[in-house]
Symmetry: C3
Subunit: 108 residues, 3 copies
């Protein structure tokens, strides 16, 4: 991938009850992340396998996924904010590596 300049970022996928969407987007914006994408009307069930014995969602809950690509140094502050929230509410945060296309005309 030499032609296009790519930037290595971390992808956060935050899945939570749609009623709390504003919490997630506020937290992301206050961390200085300039943008995000929202997937609506998801459903889910169970505990994602790591909250043993604790039901996270019912099949009737309407979930959302907030997708944000952030620099690595913002991951920890964001996870701290979400950890406090998910101590009280159901949901999960996935973190993974991505490359994002950054055309030369856009600086930072």
């Amino acid at each position: 991938m030499t032609t296009q300049k790519m930037r290595s970022l971390k992808k956060l996928e935050i899945i939570l009850d749609g009623a709390h969407l504003g919490f997630a987007t506020d937290l992301i914006e206050r961390a200085g992340v300039k943008g995000y994408t929202i997937l609506h009307n998801l459903s889910g069930k169970g505990s994602t396998g790591f909250h043993a014995g604790q039901l996270m969602f019912n099949e009737d809950d309407v979930l959302v996924m907030v997708l944000a690509a952030v620099p690595e140094d913002l991951v920890d502050p964001l996870l701290e904010g979400f950890a406090a929230f998910f101590a009280e509410h159901s949901g999960v945060v996935f973190v993974s590596d991505i490359q994002v296309m950054r055309p030369e005309k856009f600086g930072r």
Copy 2:
């Protein structure tokens, strides 16, 4: 990422005809995975590039994506189950590496 304890898991993204959603979630639950998320009303076309000459979906099909985060030792049993299914039905399974936030209050 020192503040929050993260757990390395495998993300499975299973895309299949919505009519077969129950097969996918049953298989996941029987493998011992405690939860999953469902994205509804996707569409798709073609063969994802590896089923040469075989059309997987029409543009009119309503697809779903089942998203599950599983420990690595469950990947193989799950793929075996899905391989048998996808030998007869259209769809695809993506596997990728993710980190999942695990607040300290949740053990395993």
Copy 3:
């Protein structure tokens, strides 16, 4: 993962205004990619953090995500096509590593 043969591919996640969905799918098909999946009715805001000061989407825009798994040698040609498009339009392309299940009955 020894039982199922897996193939390493690159996952492209292209997020753009739904009005331009046809551009994205045409570009993917012309590159020789045999299939893709479309997630509809997403929303989004801001600049994904790397287009400083440039608003990409309003909250009222209806976005789509086109998801395609492609061989690594197709990533660059595809990104070239998308770079030209995104020089004029809002949106983003994420690239990440995935493994795709390839049942033995399907060759390539």
